[in-house]
């Protein structure tokens, strides 16, 4: 055995300090996460339900103990049956941080879904659920770097928090959103999307808009904008969409260490 096969982290680790392998893909987290908030369950009271599309609704909660979040973060939500059985799932936070003790989630109605099924068939204002978070600093966007946001289906949820934050704070930093939906009636937040948004429809589209998958041609004009400091890309959706979109970004020259991906499993 020789030492000819040099792994990326061949360079000696610093004797103290954080271990960081010298590899070209490393994507550091954006913010530190508070461990106590991440581990304590708190009650959230449903205050409002708004239909977004035939399959998705927004659920607004009052969460008095909510410590605040950054756009892009998610939480863990737990439902408990009267025999103590629990079901817990992750949900992205749809609302912007400054929302006066409220948070909003947007849930697809998954066929046979245990948690999303309860929300779409049983939940009413006044109901209480438990949440903990915010979780993960990786997909967070503090509003600092130019943001290129690409989402499909309910993958637009954490990206909408970023768009809302950008608007609410009147930020100057460039922000672009690309959303993919099967059809116009399935496009979540359709009325809220503005000039920053490129819409992609995969099954049916409004008159004059082509039908088709997200492609290089959608991304080229956005990447050509080359904002100062470069785009930080945030990709969110099913694994299939995330693989497709991230590959298009890499092929178009976006550095891999400036692509953050949230897969809804």
């Amino acid at each position: 055995m020789t030492e000819a096969f040099v792994a990326p982290s061949r360079a000696a680790a610093p004797p103290s300090g954080t271990f960081v392998p010298a590899t070209r893909f490393a994507v550091p987290g954006r913010i530190a996460v508070n461990g106590r908030q991440a581990s304590e369950w708190q009650t959230a009271t449903l205050t409002e339900i708004r239909r977004e599309t035939p399959l998705a609704s927004t659920f607004r909660f009052a969460a008095r103990a909510w410590a605040g979040h950054l756009p892009g973060q998610h939480l863990m939500l737990r439902l408990t049956a009267d025999d103590g059985y629990t079901a817990q799932r992750h949900y992205s936070i749809a609302s912007a941080p400054d929302d006066d003790g409220h948070i909003e989630l947007t849930l697809d109605h998954v066929d046979g879904g245990e948690v999303s099924g309860w929300f779409h068939t049983t939940a009413e204002p006044g109901d209480e659920v438990e949440v903990r978070g915010p979780l993960s600093g990786f997909f967070a966007w503090p509003g600092d770097r130019p943001a290129l946001l690409i989402g499909a289906g309910s993958g637009v949820v954490p990206l909408m928090s970023m768009v809302r934050h950008h608007r609410a704070r009147g930020l100057d930093v460039p922000l672009r959103l690309v959303v993919s939906a099967r059809a116009p009636e399935e496009l979540i937040y359709a009325r809220e999307l503005g000039a920053e948004t490129t819409r992609v429809f995969t099954r049916s589209a409004p008159l004059g808009v082509p039908v088709g998958r997200l492609g290089a041609a959608h991304l080229a004009p956005l990447l050509a904008e080359e904002p100062e400091g470069g785009w930080e890309a945030y990709v969110c959706g099913s694994n299939g969409f995330a693989e497709h979109a991230s590959r298009l970004l890499v092929e178009a020259g976006q550095p891999v260490d400036r692509i953050r991906i949230e897969r809804f499993g």
Binding site: E3, F25, H90, G265
Partner: protein, 201 residues
């Protein structure tokens, strides 16, 4: 207990194989990596073990395949709440690599790192004793890239974020050095049977 009005949940299946708060994902195998899936050919794959060891060493694909074959058949558990039963991975037991580098007595922890730069930290005791593998086969087939192929770390008795995809190496240390998710609020050990999801659990 905070009972949710009108929530009954799925029929209870008494399943001793299911850790608390987990559900059986059946045939699904969700992918949850946070980075771009790398385009890494077996010929470009290497695996290194260094740090507090007497003989640091790097294996390439062919050299790693000369070590004794070993398989894991059992269950895996993801922190996002799904578990997958009866999976079958093939590769080499990590003990075979560790025997070659001879860890020093002072080594207590390891950082596993990927060819993507992903890192995760583990107590060394969780990587020894026939409980951890370098895996390159799933169900008798080459491990798919989105699941960590050509080769991933496999530590099935801990939550699956510890099983670093596209494994590039292990560095043995005398202290815990939080990795990617551990720095993002997740638990240092991640034992699903004690539901150690987040730091503080």
């Amino acid at each position: 207990m905070n009972v949710t009005r009108g929530f009954t949940g799925r029929p209870r299946v008494a399943d001793p194989g299911l850790p608390p708060g987990q559900y059986d994902a059946g045939d699904d195998w969700p992918v949850l990596s946070a980075e771009v899936t790398p385009d890494l050919a077996p010929a470009d794959w290497t695996f290194r073990v260094d740090g507090l060891v007497r003989a640091p060493r790097t294996w390439d694909w062919e050299e790693a395949h000369t070590l004794p074959e070993s398989a894991y058949e059992g269950d895996i558990h993801c922190v996002t709440s799904w578990s997958k039963f009866g999976v079958r991975f093939g590769g080499v037991c990590l003990d075979a690599f560790l025997a070659a580098v001879r860890p020093e007595a002072a080594a207590t922890h390891a950082v596993a790192y990927s060819h993507t730069g992903y890192t995760t930290s583990l107590p060394l005791a969780d990587l020894t004793g026939g409980r951890a593998w370098i895996a390159w086969e799933y169900d008798g087939e080459p491990l798919a890239a989105e699941h960590g192929g050509p080769a991933r770390l496999l530590v099935p008795h801990l939550y699956f974020w510890k099983s670093a995809k596209w494994i590039a190496g292990l560095r043995l240390l005398d202290h815990d050095e939080p990795g990617f998710w551990e720095q993002n609020g997740y638990h240092a050990r991640g034992n699903p049977w004690e539901e150690q999801r987040y730091s503080g659990d």
